[in-house]
Structure formats: structure tokens, C-alpha cells
């Protein structure tokens, strides 16, 4: 069983990396990029039967810092 964890910065949190990407896209001539937010994708290969509670706990205890980040879990068959 696999799970994908998407970690993104919360709304009010400044993302200098995203801003640098936005500038770089502008430099390549791509106009109209209003904003860029960069996040992380973490893929987990899990033992079958790993509970949703455990996956959620992994996110809360390590994969995301919930002071500044949100996470979304996507289970892949």
C-alpha cells in the first residue's frame, strides 16, 4: 500500500521559494503567473493494513509542522 502526503505552507505563511520561482518564470517570459507556492510530496510505501490513524499520526508527529504547514493524505492502491 502506498500513500502520498502533500505538505503545503499555510495561507498566511510567506513562501520566499515560491516567490523566487515566480520571478524565474517571469524571467523566462511567462507572464501572468500571479503567485507560486512550493510544497512537498512525500511518498510512503506502507505495510498493508496500516491504519489511517497511524498515517495521520506520522503527518502530525514528523512529516508536517502544523504550526506552519497543512497536509493532505492520498492513499494509492
Amino acid at each position: 500500500m502506498k500513500a502520498r502526503i502533500f505538505v503545503t505552507l499555510k495561507g498566511g505563511v510567506l513562501d520566499p521559494q515560491g516567490r523566487a520561482i515566480q520571478h524565474a518564470l517571469g524571467g523566462l517570459g511567462f507572464d501572468g503567473v500571479n503567485d507560486v507556492r512550493a510544497g512537498k510530496l512525500i511518498e510512503l510505501d506502507l505495510a498493508d493494513g496500516t491504519s489511517d490513524e497511524d498515517i495521520d499520526a506520522m503527518c502530525r508527529k514528523l512529516l508536517a509542522n502544523t504550526v506552519i504547514e497543512n497536509y493532505r493524505i492520498e492513499k494509492v492502491a
Binding site: 510567506l14 513562501d15 521559494q17 508527529k61 514528523l62 509542522n65 504550526v67 506552519i68
Partner: protein
Amino acid sequence: MKSAVIVFPGSNCDRDLAVAFEAATGAKPAMIWHRDTELPDDIDLIGVPGGFSYGDYLRSGAMAARSPVMQAVARAADRGAYVLGICNGFQVLTESGLLPGALLRNAGGHFVCRDVALTVENAQSAFTSRYEAGEAIRYPVAHHDGNYFADDTTLDRLEGEGRVALRYAENVNGSARNIAGILNEAGNVLGMMPHPERVIEAAHGATDGKRLFEGLVEGLLARA
């Protein structure tokens, strides 16, 4: 008086901090490896040094905060031992929940490595007792992720309880309310991005950091 410096893979200010502890206490600190699960029972002072623990993987300080030794540090802090986290050490202390908030990428996107002007906001703490309230000092900084973030409620509480120990006197990294160093509720844990251990002797070109370590030792002796 017993002191210790925690060493993670990727720490690079551990020896400087050990020199500062030894100069102030007169005894060499124990160097404690991150896999250790125990600290001496009667430990008085613990340093969490700067560097790039675990290569800053996942988030700065995230892996170090979950290492076995940090549970021992948390227990020692509960017992009242002084804990000083500098730079990466500050990031480790916020990641481990010993201090509130988080350290984000610098607002300007650049690594900042220079001396910065600071104001001592709280001169009553164990760490700052040898400074005057409002005193202007200079410490070096060297970090990429020093942009202090916490929600407004937390920031108001830190300010209201006198837990902002040090503030930047200039915009260094975009930190909320220019916060450079904060205390925990009990006042025995301090996290700060600037490096006092790099300005403790004349050969360093400045000695503004020396009083932080001297004050700590004075406080510990008074407590003993």
C-alpha cells in the same frame, strides 16, 4: 556545575559552544551524541548548538528534534536545567515543542551571514541578567531559516509575558516583530538565532556574547 553540549550529525558550532561553556564554568562540558538517551541527572546547563543537523532534511531541526537525546533534554528542561539553543539549536527547540512558533526561510530568500544589531528586551532572565534592559548589542548571525513565525495570539503572549529576550534592531530575515530570541514559560529555555558564542574573547573582535554565559553561570551558582 555540570554542562553538556548536544552533538548531531551536521552540527558545526558544537565546539565553539563547548569553548564558551568551559570559559564560563571552568569545566569542560560533556559532549552528548544524538543517539544517547540519558543525560547526567544533575545536569545544570545544556547547549543545543548551531549547524545543519541531518542536513536540514525535511525542515531545519525536524529530524534532530525527534532524535533520542532530545527527549532527555526535554526531561532535563522540565526539571529546571537551563537549555540554550543557538541557530539550528533554536530550530530544534521549536520543532521539538520546547519553544513555540517556527523558523521559516529568510524573507529575502538569502542566507544572511554578518553581525547584526540587537536589543536586549528582557534583562531579567537567567540568560540576560548581565545585560541592561534596552541595551544595544551586536552578535553575528549565519542562517537561511531564521524568519521567526508564530500566530498573533502566541506573539502577543510572548510579548506580554516578557518572553521576547532579544529583538533585532534592524530587519534581518523578516522575523515576526523582529524577534531574535525567545524564552519558554518557565524562563529556563532560550532559543535564539544569533551566535553569542562567536563573540566571547578579544580575538573574536568583540565580546558582547561573553556576559550571556557569565550571567548563566552566576545564576546557576546563586541557585545551588
